[in-house]
């Protein structure tokens, strides 16, 4: 499986166009074989159209803010945050986005998507996370 990946389209903060990140087969295997299952639903979505209702793809394509320098021990990487069109239960039922929360997708310096999850939103701005102390550098923000 080495080297296999699936390209995920994302908003490019530098050009305003599209950039491609990679979901490696190793990360895909972790998600499928170990879960939790909600991660699979949040990645894949559940509509008839591939990617429809996918929290990960929604936020990559239409973020509200992009942070850089997200890791304490390794420079680089970015975090796309935003409000996706849906959230998911562990059984795979589609629900509205979680109130008071924002979705975050993490990308390492090699352009590999490696983690995605819900975070509590800032009380004064529901489009950004409450605690951004680990990712201070804003690369881009929707106005």
């Amino acid at each position: 499986m080495a080297g296999r990946f699936f390209p995920l389209k994302a908003f490019c903060p530098k050009t305003g166009d599209t950039v491609e990140f990679r979901l490696t087969a190793e990360t895909g295997e972790e998600v499928v074989k170990y879960g939790p299952k909600v991660r699979h639903h949040e990645l894949l979505g559940g509509g008839l159209v591939d990617g429809q209702g996918s929290c990960v793809q929604d936020v990559l394509r239409s973020p509200s803010v992009i942070y850089g320098r997200i890791r304490q021990f390794q420079e680089g990487g970015s975090c796309y945050c935003g409000i996706p069109s849906a959230s998911w239960t562990e059984e795979g039922s589609q629900c509205p986005p979680k109130p008071g929360m924002v979705y975050a997708v993490y990308i390492n310096p090699r352009g590999e998507v490696y983690l995605w999850r819900w975070l509590r939103a800032d009380k004064s701005n529901p489009n950004i996370p409450e605690d951004v102390s680990g990712m201070q550098v804003i690369q881009w923000q929707k106005h």
């Binding site: 295997e29 939790p36 562990e90 390492n108 983690l115 999850r117 680990g134």
Partner: protein, 135 residues
């Protein structure tokens, strides 16, 4: 025709499953351990530890420890054998507690959050080895 994400994930292992065991995420240089297969959100404790809480009742259902390469080095410097590429869950959490800064919590609150995680983990879970394969 281009491969769809559905096809790609099927080729990665078929239908989604849940296994409760500590896993090293090489792309993210972090370890995650989920005790329960529930919808959840992240609750950042400090620069190293993040707790996963169930959406329903906010109970701790898992955690993430970041910066495993640096933590491995730190543990090695204290003579804790990591030559085999294995380290226990308890040791990782202890290492996280002593190495992390960058917390919005007071020192007391931060300690309480680590204690809450410790209470949630039984001794067997703390002794679980995590295979950290960085190659």
């Amino acid at each position: 025709m281009a491969e769809t994400l559905t096809d790609f994930l099927k080729s990665c292992g078929g239908e989604p499953q849940f296994k409760s065991e500590p896993r090293y995420n090489r792309a993210g240089d972090c370890v995650e351990y989920f005790f329960s297969n529930e919808a959840h959100h992240a609750d950042r404790v400090d620069g190293v530890l993040t707790l996963y809480r169930a959406d329903d009742n906010h109970s701790i259902i898992g955690f993430q420890v970041k910066g495993i390469t640096a933590l491995h080095k730190l543990l090695g410097n204290f003579g804790i054998a990591v030559n085999t590429g294995k380290v226990t869950v308890g040791m990782l959490i202890l290492g996280a507690y002593y190495s992390a800064g960058d917390s919005r919590h007071t020192a007391d609150n931060r300690r309480r959050l680590y204690e809450s995680l410790n209470e949630r983990l039984d001794p067997d879970a703390c002794r679980q080895p995590v295979l950290v394969d960085q190659n």
